[in-house]
């Protein structure tokens, strides 16, 4: 049975996107693992798709994607090492139906999505109500993805 995204999953992603690492780790540790495998992953994917479309618009330019991934990787040594530029560009392009991620593991895709999502949301400089509205849209999309 497919469970919709839970409030706890939304709160967890919210903490992460608010840069509240301690709270995020606490909430993430409390998530029901079985539910998180589908619900939280779908929420991350939904939020990522929303954020990508906000950033790059309907008609994305590959050059913009390359430049953005470079900007994100240049923000810290840790991100530079952990975020493979090829994987990062591909997870963005696939939102537009360009290419495939079939050869990548789910964890590689979600990891790249999370790092890029952090960069996209940081650039948006959303205030609390805007972040809540963004997450509400992402939750809706995630529920649609799972249905």
């Amino acid at each position: 049975m497919i469970m919709p995204v839970t409030d706890a999953q939304v709160a967890t992603l919210r903490a992460l996107l608010s840069d509240d690492t301690d709270h995020y780790e606490q909430l993430f540790g409390q998530l029901d693992r079985a539910q998180a495998r589908s619900g939280y992953t779908a929420l991350v994917t939904g939020a990522f798709c929303e954020a990508v479309e906000r950033r790059f618009g309907r008609n994305y330019q590959p050059a913009d994607v390359i430049a953005f991934v470079g900007q994100v990787r240049a923000r810290s040594e840790r991100v530079a090492k952990g975020l493979d530029p090829d994987v990062a560009e591909r997870v963005i392009r696939v939102v537009y139906g360009d290419g495939s991620l079939a050869d990548l593991s789910d964890s590689a895709v979600v990891s790249a999505q999370l790092v890029l999502l952090g960069g996209l949301i940081a650039d948006e400089q959303l205030d609390a109500p805007e972040l809540d509205a963004f997450l509400a849209g992402a939750r809706k999309l995630a529920d649609q993805l799972m249905s």
Binding site: A63, I66, P85
Partner: protein
């Protein structure tokens, strides 16, 4: 190599690159790999030394790839960053296949010479310096 570095369009650069890689593959131009490497290292150090950070290299490679449709498809960003890092730090780069490495050095060298604003004589001087270094590399087996 001069033809590639002086190319004024993607098409011209692609043709020069094709000829360059063919020469390197067939062995009809002994020492061309060393010359490319030496010119690339000299240009990279002129552009980035004395102080640089990984972020500078990441941004530079992303800029190269995003400014040319041709480069975005054929320039592997990790290979390019590693080649630049090796050129600047004198530490060995993880060794990709020879063609990917030569392609990265050639594309990056073209962009570096462009960024350095080298005139024809400046380009000649760079290649001349590269040739001297390449001769040393060949002589010492480095």
């Amino acid at each position: 190599m001069h033809a590639y570095l002086s190319a004024s369009s993607d098409a011209e650069a692609a043709e020069a690159e094709r000829q360059f890689i063919m020469l390197a593959r067939t062995g009809d131009a002994d020492g061309i790999g060393e010359l490319l490497y030496a010119a690339f290292v000299i240009a990279a150090r002129r552009a980035f030394a004395p102080s640089w950070e990984s972020a500078d290299l990441i941004r530079f490679v992303a800029d190269v790839r995003s400014s040319s449709g041709e480069a975005s498809g054929i320039l592997d960003p990790k290979v390019a960053e590693n080649q630049l890092r090796a050129a600047l730090s004198q530490e060995p780069a993880p060794c990709p296949d020879e063609e990917a490495r030569a392609r990265a050095q050639l594309i990056l060298l073209a962009t570096l010479t462009n960024r350095l604003g080298l005139t024809t004589s400046g380009l000649d001087k760079l290649l001349s310096d590269g040739r001297t270094t390449a001769d040393d590399l060949i002589r010492t087996g480095g």
